[in-house]
């Protein structure tokens, strides 16, 4: 599934080569896919996405982000978090709770085994 180039063009400063988006690490591609699919399922429009992402990046730059591309997908994730909350798909509280559950699960998982949410000792 390749994104149409007119959609990609709307996104500010997306790391690309001649053929399309490039990622430095696997999680970046996962973050990319999350936003693309959430958009496809109608959570937000693509122009809403592009606007929110530019705002996020501008704010980060003002706060002293070196903007070397290494932090790009951190801004991407923060944008997705913000939009998911503002669209009412979740609340900040709920997000924090799930985050803590993942943290606990990661700590409770023996080294070398896949981390799954069920490993959270507080999971019922």
């Amino acid at each position: 599934m390749t994104l149409p180039s007119d959609m990609l063009k709307l996104i500010p400063a997306l790391p690309c080569d001649v053929e399309g988006p490039v990622f430095r690490e696997p999680w970046e591609a996962q973050a990319f896919a999350l936003a693309v699919d959430a958009h496809a399922k109608g959570l937000f429009t693509w122009s809403e996405w592009a606007a929110a992402l530019s705002a996020q990046i501008k704010a980060a730059q003002l706060a002293g982000d070196p903007d070397t591309g290494e932090t790009y997908y951190q801004h991407w994730l923060a944008t997705l978090e913000g939009l998911t909350v503002s669209k009412g798909a979740t609340s900040l509280d709920q997000l924090k709770q799930v985050q803590s559950a993942w943290d606990r699960a990661a700590r409770a998982t023996p080294h070398g085994q896949p981390i799954v949410l069920e490993n959270d000792p507080l999971a019922s």
Partner: protein, 187 residues
């Protein structure tokens, strides 16, 4: 990110199959993807090949794509007698700084379990048939140790440049589920 993914999945705003499909589209675009260059250099430069087999992490770093993470990379060489196959039976450990993102099949449970029990059958599924007397060695990756296969240099490539050789090196040939393109294949 996992929290966000969990929430979006639970609410039906993303679906795992669609996510895999998107990531798969770009899987060759992740990481420095320098494996082919490493292999080609080892084919033309015997001293580099020695260093690569002795200490994969250091030899790969020489080409300046340093693995950010701490894990070690061991390079295993295919020969006339031995074919190497890499798997991670526990999860999906993969030398992604060298090879990019793991293909979806690498992470699948059938590959992870069958590669150890029936490597010849797995290779056949990939269209690779090896002579019966060839030994197949299966390497199980861990969080600390990743493996990279150094495939055999295709016949008929004497005098080729590193760049030209690198085009013959496929991702699958460095996992062991494939062979490099033959010299005749139009690359």
């Amino acid at each position: 990110m996992r929290a966000l993914e969990t929430v979006l999945l639970a609410k039906g705003y993303v679906d795992p199959a669609a996510l895999d499909l998107i990531v798969e589209t770009y899987e060759t675009k992740i990481g420095p993807r320098c494996g082919a260059q490493v292999v080609a250099k080892a084919w033309v430069d015997p001293a580099y090949r020695q260093r690569l087999l002795a200490d994969g992490t250091a030899a790969v770093a020489e080409l300046s794509f340093s693995g950010r993470q701490g894990e070690h990379l061991k390079v295993v060489e295919n020969t006339g007698q031995v074919h190497n196959l890499v798997v991670c039976t526990l999860c999906s450990c993969y030398p992604w700084p060298v090879l990019g993102l793991p293909p979806v099949w690498y992470k699948s449970a059938p590959y992870r379990s069958r590669a150890v029990i029936d490597p010849r059958g797995v290779l056949a599924d990939f269209g690779v048939t090896l002579p019966r007397d060839k030994t197949i060695r299966v390497w199980d990756s861990t969080a600390e140790m990743r493996y990279l296969v150094l495939p055999q240099r295709p016949a008929g490539t004497e005098g080729w440049s590193e760049e030209r050789l690198a085009e013959l090196v496929t991702r699958d040939s460095m996992i062991g589920t494939g062979l490099p393109h033959p010299a005749g294949a139009g690359a």
